[in-house]
Symmetry: C2
Subunit: 144 residues, 2 copies
């Protein structure tokens, strides 16, 4: 349908605009020395999964393996993630958050959220509900 096509086109553009500005704004609210967006996201995935191989983590985070190597490298430097050999497959590696990783994660996650959560509190419950639903839809679309 032409109507749907137009609606989807318009929405695609609006959504991209909204997201780019929104993420730049959130990025600006980052305290110095804190974990970056990508690092925190990777650490979160590891936290939730318990342990993952680099490939699994890369797929989950929707980046290429070399990119994940870099991100994990930063986390490892800071002692937040540990690489251990895979028990049966010598090619693979197991990534898992360290105790410190879990602690630092909880702290930074909270700090990182502070600004955004405060902003979101100023919205109406209906608006928050809309955002929650939108987040679910975006996750689904991203998953492909």
């Amino acid at each position: 349908m032409t109507t749907e096509r137009t609606a989807a086109d318009t929405l695609a553009k609006t959504l991209r605009d909204a997201i780019i500005r929104f993420s730049r704004r959130v990025r600006q609210a980052r305290p110095v020395g804190d974990l970056t967006f990508s690092q925190l996201s990777a650490l979160t995935s590891l936290q939730l999964a318990g342990a993952l191989t680099p490939r699994e983590l890369a797929d989950m985070e929707r980046v290429q393996p070399p990119t994940m190597t870099k991100i994990v490298g930063k986390l490892e430097e800071r002692g937040l993630v540990a690489r251990t050999p895979h028990p049966t497959d010598g090619r693979q590696v197991i990534l898992a958050p360290t105790d410190e990783g879990r602690a630092v994660y909880a702290f930074h996650e909270r700090a990182r959220n502070e600004w955004l959560a405060a902003e979101l509190e100023r919205l109406t419950p209906e608006e928050r509900e809309t955002l929650a639903q939108a987040a679910e839809i975006m996750q689904r679309v991203a998953r492909g």
Copy 2:
């Protein structure tokens, strides 16, 4: 309220997760040689406004002026944006899309949107409506 606080915290996290994955997914769908996310966004703002100073554009795009200098530099290299001196204030510069900029913009915008629009078409009208509302809310929050 504790309820609101918790809801906002949870939402903040969910939303960040959704957005980071969503944008990486959209980025992957970019054709080679195409304008990047940031370049297209800047060109869009210029297009809509007609003409802006670097400072105004930086504010609108929520980046620092040096960052905008870079982005505009790329657009200028490709002949899509022209810098002209400000009529009364010698410090300032006027940025405006060239004719080619307008043409290339329309083309790339469309190409850039294609994947996303196709995905969005597969959603229900209600879901699209939710995303549209969410986009509006995010713009508002980003605006501060």
